[in-house]
Symmetry: C2
Subunit: 329 residues, 2 copies
């Protein structure tokens, strides 16, 4: 591969001048500029990016940590991030953590080794305390999840509100025995939603029963399983608030499988409003998360950090969770 030196030689000029042409500096005569461009063309020259990076200390690359690539919520989030990134000429290093702290921890070193300018987190498996040191090496922006104590810049939604409107909707539909179902226990998003769930129950004078709480359901199969467990209870709930459309879909499927009518005998509410929510029978009532837009904003936030232009990142209207009523409630 040709280097800047080859171009300089062919054009009969210095490396400095070639560099100036590449970087669109002023003060280069039209003639030399043409000479350089011709030389670049005829050598099929393309600058070596690691040399540029080493010199400039900028990678124009961002790492994105994703727990599970196949989860539609995260792929939409990534899509949003990618769209802005590509627009701005930023490359994306995608790091799948598989929900494992050790893998995630390892990826944080990308910042230390200066392979990326910053990291966008879409979840956090490690304690903030154990990774805060990395923030000295570049901006870390969080989206989806949040950790108030960390002071990390973030883009997120009011998940307490999400738990609240979902539960309230079920109550308004006449339910009194409402179960709560979520993914991994440690997630702050889950905790927030549970607060909202309890808030709604309280408001209507209902008690949260611990046996109505399922804290391990993450996918379609889990949803089926949860339905079975629910039915085995001595006083089974008549409605359930779930943390994802996958789980809700599993519940609905298994309910029908057992001959239960949805929503008459068991009402189900999903979360996310993924494509799957329109495909189940009956279609899922769910709470829409604007995943793409969260991603977009996270990337914009990151840009404002790495360009450290004090571009105030124009105040965007707050992102809201929204109840989408279909037929499962």
């Amino acid at each position: 591969m040709a280097t800047i030196k080859d171009v300089a030689n062919l054009a009969g000029l210095s490396r400095s001048t070639v560099s100036r042409v590449m970087n669109k500096y002023p003060y280069v005569s039209e003639e030399k500029k043409r000479l350089v461009e011709e030389a670049m063309k005829s050598l099929n020259y393309y600058p070596n990016s690691s040399a540029q990076t080493l010199r400039s200390q900028k990678t124009d690359t961002i790492a994105v940590f994703i727990p599970m690539l196949t989860n539609p919520f995260f792929s939409h989030l990534l899509e949003g991030i990618d769209t802005v990134a590509t627009e701005k000429g930023i490359r994306l290093l995608v790091c799948q953590t598989k929900y494992e702290a050790a893998i995630e921890k390892e990826f944080f070193n990308l910042l230390k080794s200066k392979q990326v300018d910053g990291i966008i987190l879409t979840s956090l498996e490690n304690d903030w305390a154990s990774v805060r040191e990395f923030a000295e090496h570049g901006p870390i922006v969080m989206c989806n999840e949040y950790d108030a104590s960390s002071g990390m810049p973030n883009v997120c939604l009011d998940q307490v509100y999400g738990g609240y409107i979902g539960t309230r909707h079920l109550i308004e539909k006449g339910h009194r025995k409402i179960a709560f179902c979520q993914g991994r226990f440690k997630s702050l998003v889950s905790k927030a939603r549970e607060s909202g769930y309890k808030l709604a129950l309280e408001e209507f004078g209902l008690a949260a029963k611990e046996e109505y709480a399922f804290r391990i359901a993450a996918d379609y199969q889990d949803g089926k399983e949860v339905l079975k467990q629910m039915r085995a209870l001595s006083d089974p709930p008549t409605a359930i608030f779930t943390g994802s459309d996958q789980v809700a879909a599993g519940l609905v499927y298994e309910a029908r499988n057992l001959g239960l009518k949805v929503p008459e005998e068991i009402a189900v509410i999903g979360f996310d409003d993924q494509p799957i929510a329109e495909v189940t029978y009956p279609q899922l009532t769910t709470i829409r998360q604007p995943a793409r837009e969260i991603g977009r904003r996270a990337m914009l936030l990151m840009l404002s950090k790495i360009l450290s232009e004090e571009n105030q990142l124009e105040d965007l209207e707050p992102l809201m969770l929204e109840l989408i009523e279909r037929s499962s409630t």
Copy 2:
């Protein structure tokens, strides 16, 4: 950030020795080794990767071109690629082309600028002729799609067979008027499946009617639309072979919406066997593509190229498409 020089100074040794320790060279005395390690620890040192890259000409990074991140087929493919990559310490630069040749073309320059060691293609929007020059700068491996004329190493399935078994299945179910539906026209995968479709028809003495061919359907909404178009035909088909579960789901939904019975009045067969196939009502008969495994193998193939160890990439059993019969046919 500390550099190798700082470490050398603190340890009272030369940069060479520090480098040798980092790279686990033999011939370093235990004592100096310990000294270096202590210095690295106390300086919280981490080598600068662009310096390493510049010097060694290896990035340990692979670019993956994906047309659409939110398409579950591609996210599973990516998951497979990622799993092997992470295992081997290879980073992934994810490039979403949005099915646009211009965007894709731009990404190819990653190879020229030496930001990546190789590229894994999961589709190809440009003509091979217009991108073949890039192959001089590093290995390009293709998966999912294929282009016989290019001679590119690839991992793919017999899509003709896919079209064949799907169509044959419909014929065996008693259908004679069978429609064919696919995504973008130019895709070779689509063309191959259509050949298989025609092959099956021919085998049973049936003619392929051009008005039964729909070549623009890529998602759920498109599926709904296709069903309407089909029904508007003077002699509507009684079965349809589709190129994706999304489209099939749309068809099934719209059929039910119009009061048509599936599969009695209209049989639908999907493709991929994505999670969505179990969620529709009725559940989709479909043709399973082992997306994760395709991804895994593509990455293994890439590794064999960049390590250029003549490690014969042990002969794996061929990947096969497989008919999964559920209730939509």
